[in-house]
C-alpha cells in the first residue's frame, strides 16, 4: 500500500490523499488481527488501494 500511495503521490502531487484505518481485534488480545484500510483520492474512494490487511 505504501508503495502504491508513494508512486501515486509522486505522479499526482496535487491530489489530496486521505486514509481511514480501522483496527480489528480478537478477544482480549492487544494485537490487531486485521486492519481495514480505506484510501480516498480527492475525496473519492480508491478501490484498488482500499483493503483488509491481515496481521498488520
Amino acid at each position: 500500500m505504501e508503495k502504491a500511495v508513494s508512486n501515486f503521490k509522486k505522479a499526482n502531487p496535487n491530489v489530496k490523499i486521505k486514509a481511514e484505518m480501522k483496527f480489528n481485534f480478537d478477544g482480549n488480545s492487544k494485537r490487531p488481527t486485521s486492519v481495514d484500510v480505506e484510501i480516498y483520492k480527492d475525496g473519492k474512494l480508491d478501490l484498488e488501494l482500499s483493503k483488509n490487511y491481515e496481521n498488520p
Binding site: K3, A4, L45, S50, Y53, E54
Partner: protein, 236 residues
Amino acid sequence: MIANYNEIIEKLKDLNWKKFNIIFNINKGSIGYDKIEYVDDNDVDIFFWIRFGEIGDLINSIRNKFYSNVDDFSKRFNKYQIEIYPDGEVTEKEWWDSEKEKKDLLDSADVFYQWVNELMMSMIFEYEKDNNLIPTQYDSDGDLEYLSSWDSGVFTFHIDKNNNLVYKVVLTKDGKERTLDLPLRDYFVEGILDHYKVTNNELSDDWKPWNTMILKSLHYDIPYDKREEFVNYILE
C-alpha cells in the same frame, strides 16, 4: 455457498436492483474488491461500497478457503466472485489470475527490503540483549532501560553458487565499526532465498539479475520513496 448474504441483501433493500456483483482480489496478506456494484432495473452497473467490517464473516470465509487451497495448483484462486439476486439465488466462482499473481509478486518484491530491515533490527536487539551487548541504565523509576548499541548498519546478503546464503552484519556506533556474528532465524534465511529465487526467475523480465543485496539501515524504518538510497542489488 461460502457464507450467509443476508447482510448484503439488507443493505440493498431500499434500492432497485436485479443483481449484485462482487469480485474480490485476494493474496497472502490482504483482500480487497476488484469490483463491487449492483445492476439496476435499467441494466446500469452502479458502484456500491460496503465496508470490510460489515462483511467480516464473509471475508474470513474467503480467506480460510484461500489458505486451504493456496498450495494446490488445481484449486488455488486469487479472484473470488459472488453474484447475488433479489430472490436469494447466489452464484459463486473462483479462479487464478496469472497477471494478478505477477503483480502481487512484484509488489511484494519491491518492499521486501522493509521486511528485511525490520527483522534485522529485531534479531540484532534480541541477540545483543541475550548476550549482554547492549548498554543499559536504570530510569527514574528504577526500571532497566536498554540503550541503542548502533546508529547505523550495513547488512550484506550474498547467495553463493550453491544457493547458500552468506551474510555479513556491520554495525556502527559513534563512528566506530564492528562486525556482529549474528545467527539468523531459519524463516528469515528462507525468505531471503525465496526473494532471490522469485526475482531471478518469475520476475526476471522486471528485475535485473542479482546475487547480493546490500541494505543500509539507520536503525529505523526505510520509507519507500527513499529506498534507492538504502537498498542495492548487485551481481557479483
